[in-house]
């Protein structure tokens, strides 16, 4: 039930993007009776449309608009036009995500204070007290149906997990489990239980995994207060002489441009498109882009310290069967500088199908060293490493005026150099990950380089002071009261945990704030 709002209706909240941040915010506001127009660049795909084939699904869902890369990260060499793996579809990257749903550890909200000065890092404390988040985290866990929270049971472990767990225990790790997952272990919230099909990254055809595409979006629409316009690509945010934003210019599926008026604009296009949109909206009044008086728009791009470890055994594992991310080791998530780096990391099982394994195991690799690894595909187990990376001012999204997208707008360039802390942490994690598998008889191990970024964070960061960041503790831009950032680009620091639960909790919290401020006529 779409609620059609007029283009000229300047009482609506316009939300750009319908992923973890934008999709949840849209529903939360609609439930409170606020009129919302969501503009989503991608089309609408539901479980019956998802394709359980890695490359075909990628072609169906991935964001493939022009992007460029620079910096010393290997992605710039191996996948120069694909810095990030992000979805363009209603529901955003929550169609692709694996579902790992972890809260930040308390100290991670205060990275600058906890870690002290780290040379070259632009560390800052979040302007949020961890206790303020407790209730929002609980709401987010209930919304997503996260296992091992509330009274929800954990998922059963698959083959890949069993190898991982045995190795972890042999090494003496204690915090090993099938994790907290936004995947139903029993049917819940009108969605089925996980059938262990093994294509979580391609969209869950059972709907067992939470995605905004088939939960928050249709529920928001059912209120009559939310209209989702799909294949509506926002090009520019407009403002008036007083510096308030007034609406957005977007292109529809046929390339025709429209101006949607707005009382409030919330940007949730993920951490590459969100700052790009602010930069592309530069005007005489805001020559450096919207909300950019700090100069921090696009800076402090974080992607988590990542990498993978695959291992071959003398007997079959068949890791592709069952949940893609089937378990976690949390012992290394603590902050313990005696390991040679600040912050911590998680180890999480991961399985790729043969086509993706060929592309990502050792990009560019060839010859027998490479092919003998794939010959043992059936006997392979795998894990992914995800840890806190350091925000650096020079890691940033800029406009590349030499490369244009399909609308003639400058493409984003994504520049990333590893910080020495990231490198030290990755090397530690590789060593530990390989030890896990060697402890249970691996005959060969592969410390695999990072893939294109799946966690994109920090490019419109939250700060107490307007000089240090782009938004305040509510995601409201310091410069423009009716302009909000509602996605992972708000992150002040990245923490060790997968980000989506926190993105969702912040969106629920932001909806409370926006509705209250609207009620008071403050915005």
């Amino acid at each position: 039930m779409a609620a059609p709002f007029e283009l000229s209706d300047d009482s609506v909240v316009v939300i750009i993007g319908t992923g973890a941040g934008g999709g949840v915010l849209a529903n939360e506001l609609a439930q409170k009776g606020v009129s919302v127009v969501s503009l989503e660049a991608g089309g609408r795909y539901l479980p019956e449309d998802y394709i359980n084939d890695e490359w075909e699904s990628f072609g169906q869902l991935a964001w493939l608009d022009a992007r460029t890369t620079s910096g010393d990260w290997r992605v710039a060499n191996d996948f120069s036009g694909l810095p990030a793996w992000i979805v363009k579809a209603v529901g955003g990257t929550t169609t692709h995500w694996a579902g790992a749903s972890l809260r930040f550890q308390d100290h991670e909200w205060k990275a600058a204070t906890t870690y002290g000065p780290v040379q070259g890092a632009n560390l800052l404390d979040w302007p949020i007290d961890p206790r303020e988040m407790d209730d929002y985290y609980t709401k987010a866990e209930n919304k997503l149906g996260v296992t091992r929270t509330g009274d929800r049971a954990g998922l059963p472990g698959n083959n890949n997990y069993k190898v991982f767990e045995a190795g972890a225990k042999a090494l003496g790790y204690e915090e090993v489990s099938t994790g907290r997952m936004a995947i139903n272990s029993a049917s819940n919230d009108d969605r089925a239980a996980c059938q262990q099909t093994g294509f979580c990254f391609q969209g869950c055809k059972w709907g067992a995994k939470w995605s905004a595409a088939y939960t928050d979006i249709p529920r928001g629409e059912a209120t009559g207060n939310l209209e989702v316009r799909e294949r509506a690509h926002v090009l520019k945010i407009e403002h008036d002489d007083s510096g308030k934003v007034t609406g957005v210019l977007y292109a529809d599926a046929d390339g025709n441009q429209h101006l949607q008026k707005a009382r409030i604009v919330c940007v949730a296009g993920n951490s590459i498109e969100s700052p790009r949109l602010l930069l592309n909206s530069a005007s005489n009044m805001f020559p450096e882009g919207l909300a950019n008086s700090s100069g921090q728009v696009g800076r402090n791009y974080m992607r988590h310290m990542t990498g993978s470890v695959y291992a071959v055994f003398d007997k079959p594992v068949k890791m592709w069967r069952g949940t893609t991310m089937a378990g976690i080791i949390q012992d290394e998530a603590r902050h313990d500088p005696s390991r040679g780096f600040v912050g911590g990391y998680e180890l999480e099982t991961l399985a790729l199908g043969l086509p993706f394994m060929a592309a990502f195991l050792d990009p560019g690799g060839w010859g027998r060293e490479f092919t003998t690894a794939l010959d043992s595909y059936e006997n392979m187990a795998g894990m992914w490493i995800v840890g806190e990376d350091m925000p650096q001012e020079t890691n940033r999204i800029t406009l590349n005026h030499d490369v244009k997208d399909q609308y003639g707008l400058p493409a984003p360039n994504v520049h990333f150099d590893d910080h020495p802390n990231d490198v030290a942490m990755r090397n530690h994690a590789y060593k530990q990950g390989m030890a896990v598998y060697e402890a249970v008889g691996a005959t060969r191990v592969f410390p695999t380089p990072p893939y294109p970024s799946t966690h994109n964070l920090g490019t419109n960061r939250m700060s107490e002071n307007s000089r240090d960041g782009v938004v305040n503790k509510h995601g409201q831009t310091h410069d423009i009261a009716n302009l909000f950032i509602s996605d992972g680009s708000q992150f002040t620091t990245g923490a060790a945990e997968n980000p989506t639960l926190t993105i969702v909790a912040l969106a629920i919290r932001q909806a409370d704030f926006i509705a209250a401020e609207m009620g008071k006529n403050n915005i």
């Binding site: 359980n52 698959n158 099909t197 294509f199 199908g353 027998r368």
Partner: protein
């Protein structure tokens, strides 16, 4: 795509063909396996060029349990008017490099080791990288290849693995 050769007997095929390396035979407008197990028509590139390209594909991603016809299928798309000049030039350069090392041509270098040595010398060329990059999907994204690696593909149509062995590991 390649087709199982049903029309010609091995003897008939060989009588009309010339050997290209140990693995292939070529004739007017086609490349075939020496065993006559498969044959592929070519329209735009020379049959010997295609045979060399198939050998090159195998040398880049050698899997001894994957038959030549899958490598042939992986590079078949280069037999087009658009791609042919690039392929002919690339293979000519490969053969020139082989002659520089004392072989009659790339495909006549008998040991994989020797051919890989020739490839290493061209590793940074656009031609090599185009062929290698294309093979990542051209070879490994062939559904017919997946079972050779044990990979089972989609499972939704069979109800997932919940009752079909998602946790059937028995040695850990």
């Amino acid at each position: 795509m390649t087709s199982r050769n049903t029309k010609l007997t091995r003897r008939q095929l060989l009588s009309r063909s010339a050997a290209a390396g140990a693995a292939f035979v070529v004739g007017a407008g086609y490349v075939a396996g020496s065993s006559a197990a498969w044959a592929m028509n070519v329209e735009h590139v020379q049959p010997t060029t295609m045979a060399t390209l198939i050998q090159m594909a195998r040398d880049i991603y050698p899997h001894d349990h994957v038959a030549d016809e899958f490598y042939a299928a992986a590079v078949k798309g280069y037999d087009s008017a658009d791609a042919a000049p690039m392929i002919e030039a690339g293979i000519a350069a490969l053969d020139a490099a082989a002659r520089g090392k004392g072989y009659a041509s790339y495909i006549e270098a008998g040991w994989e080791r020797d051919r890989v040595d020739i490839l290493r010398g061209l590793e940074n060329s656009t031609f090599f990288q185009t062929i290698r990059g294309g093979l990542v999907t051209g070879l490994y994204n062939q559904k017919a290849v997946w079972p050779l690696f044990g990979y089972e593909g989609e499972s939704f149509s069979k109800g997932g693995y919940i009752d079909r062995g998602f946790d059937d590991i028995n040695w850990i």
